[in-house]
Assembly symmetry: none
Homo-oligomer: 432 residues x 2
């Protein structure tokens, strides 16, 4: 393993009785695990512990005994339940001292929302002596960096949005400094190719030969991550002696993998890393200077809400109609009266919304979410309508799953159909 | 602590490097935590550990030192990675012996699927000396019940479908026998009150006196769960000698807590347990026989997509317009040309969509998601418009967070405004 031994071992301790009782999923440990791995840091253990002082102290001590750094998530709130600060003070064998500058910051945050700070929030300004503060930018509780001998314990709020901000801003940089101080130079990078429209086993077959070429424990690895309604991700990971080497290994591998997938499965890769299907739509519309409108039945606004998540959507997104009741399809979108789950209805919805919203292109969805059949179609039957500057078409789909899954699959499938149609639409005429 | 001390403390250890790397969520620990709580068993710690013999042994020993029973999930498969059996043998200080009857069962299971058993699967027939078998009914790996002094370690496959079957069939009955042997009879139940519109600290203050009345380690406890964009949950938990007593304690406590919250914070409780804000809207519309339409700007379809998630939404939901571009507001919803982030625009959107969709009531949202200001309003400024059978009103909000949060908060805030308006609208005229 060579360099492996010098890597900083990070243990995650998620605090909260609700985790032990199974009332909420622990998404924080999963997210942190992913981030640590992506940065070449290693994690051998995670723990969950409830809101109990004695057991928190035991969990923190256990973690410090077997790891080099501990990230504690949760228990920094303003209520009597929130005793992470007290548990850390006990582990550090110090007292808690109220920090006046934090008090003022919390007071100012409440004031900016036109509210008075409740006295409870004063607890959030208590800091174990010797700990450093991670300033809060999104909530009220600051995070903590607590040196304990050569080791370190970080504490962050359990709210994912506050946790991730503090991790990226303060904890990750600190961990990377500790890692470099140990002489660890290997850089691990990964890249995710996002696919829609093929199964995990079809992708595995397409890449089977490549899998056997890549030696076990070598510098490059390939893995699949099934991401439910967001398709299958193919993750390429490379370990280089420096960043440039890791990047170059990744670039080469991406070329090999893309060629194999394109040859066997066609145009199923829609994005890289964090690029979503709606990002893929946005870049195509922007490049061609086209505007978009959507008409949704069973998806009920899901497609529109995905599109407005893209920064700068107002440049190309006009809007949409959620025609849930059939009468709304007839009256607002001028769909001919008749069965509303059909290719004709889908196309008419696309034409209708494009006219209503005065957009260049449009996409529509109508179908059966289930559990009952409709218009003689089984649940999962979905029609996508497209109108690209007057050129209409439709795609018929047969989607698996219960109501929420059919609806979510319909939304991404419709966007994928639009992506492929835009690529065909935008193709230059072939030279004869 | 009374009965608390006699409860069997169960620790869950989920095995698998993919959990540490964040490649898959740990749904097993959550499910098991819920099951244990529902049966009056207690869990103080969970751990994740990777597929490494030394670290698995350490994790199992740590768990056995601080808990009475340990459930190990995962690492029972047929590959070189699957070393849970070996780690248990080391903890028990015994050897592994191949069990011929298990070999025959696995061979028969492959034969029944028309396949030959690969040699790898022989590993699954290895059993630590002194362990009992949990017969497999859904896969190939049997589970294990390993007595260790007065304590016990169970091992089950990580496949949720096999794990849950073995838990219900063998582990839960064994745990309940152990619990009864300690004289423990308690049944624990909990109920969640879901609130929107007050902060965690305001709720904590409203309930502060009640907190101090409830003795530590008593039969009833109150806790808060911040659920991000779904508001704050107040969880009431009761421990009774039987189910009827636990339910009755919960009913009484719910009455006390509801009265305190109503007195201090008003009508902030919108649901119980799994009831969502859209469920609260649905039940009010159904009770009054009213239909609904929505007009959305910055929320971009989020409100509509939440509403269609409710089973039977077609009975009361007509549809919606996502008027993202200003021109769509003017042309489709007949909003007077001018600033589109204003109370006038919000009200006009509600009136416009109610007319377009021929619904009884409507709700609209317009505002600034950010990061830039618009029409002289800072990001987070949101106007909700309402039209209840011709009676129009608006609510102005100031919401925190970045774009996605402002948008998500806007959606639930708009639904909450509609909930409150429907309650006022539906109030019988006061008797003079």
């Amino acid at each position: 393993m060579g360099n492996g031994c010098s890597r900083v071992r990070v243990e995650i301790v998620a605090v909260g009785s609700e985790l032990l009782l199974g009332q909420i999923p622990d998404t924080n440990s999963q997210w942190l695990g992913e981030q640590l791995a992506a940065h070449g840091l290693t994690s051998h253990f995670h723990q969950h512990v409830g809101d109990n002082l004695e057991r928190m102290v035991l969990a923190f001590r256990t973690a410090l005994a077997r790891s080099d750094a501990v990230i504690v998530c949760g228990g920094l709130g303003p209520t009597q339940d929130d005793i992470t600060r007290a548990a850390i003070a006990e582990v550090m064998n110090v007292t808690l001292v109220r920090d006046d500058s934090i008090v003022e910051e919390i007071r100012a945050m409440f004031a900016s929302r036109g509210r008075t700070m409740p006295d409870n929030n004063l607890l959030q300004a208590d800091v174990p002596v010797g700990a450093n503060i991670i300033a809060q930018t999104r909530g009220t509780a600051p995070g903590l960096i607590c040196p304990i001998g050569q080791k370190v314990l970080y504490a962050v709020p359990g709210v994912p949005y506050e946790m991730s901000d503090m991790f990226e801003r303060a904890i990750l940089p600190d961990l990377l400094i500790r890692q470099r101080a140990r002489g660890e130079r290997a850089v691990i990078t990964s890249r995710v190719l996002r696919t829609w429209g093929s199964s995990e086993s079809a992708l595995a077959e397409a890449l089977a030969d490549r899998f056997s070429e890549l030696e076990q424990g070598g510098r490059v690895t390939i893995a699949f991550l099934a991401s439910g309604i967001e398709g299958i991700k193919v993750r390429l990971t490379a370990r280089g002696d420096d960043r440039a080497m890791a990047q170059s290994l990744l670039d080469d591998e991406e070329g090999v993998v893309r060629a194999l997938i394109a040859e066997r499965l066609g145009d199923v890769i829609f994005g890289v890393d964090d690029e979503t299907m709606e990002d893929a739509i946005a870049s195509r519309l922007r490049a061609r200077g086209l505007t978009l409108a959507v008409a949704e039945s069973l998806t009920g606004g899901l497609i529109a809400s995905r599109l407005v998540n893209v920064a700068g959507a107002s440049a190309w997104f006009r809007g949409g109609v959620v025609s849930y009741a059939s009468q709304v399809k007839f009256d607002v979108l001028h769909v001919p009266e008749g069965p509303v789950v059909s290719s004709e209805a889908a196309t008419a919805m696309a034409v209708g919304v494009r006219a209503l919203m005065a957009s260049d292109v449009s996409v529509s969805v109508t179908g059966v979410a289930g559990p009952e059949s409709q218009d003689g179609h089984a649940p999962g039957t979905v029609f996508v309508g497209l109108d690209l500057e007057g050129e209409t078409s439709f795609v018929q789909l047969r989607l698996p799953g219960d109501r929420p899954r059919v609806r979510a699959y319909s939304a991404i499938s419709a966007l994928d159909a639009l992506r492929r149609a835009l690529d065909r639409h935008g193709d230059p005429a072939p030279v004869p």
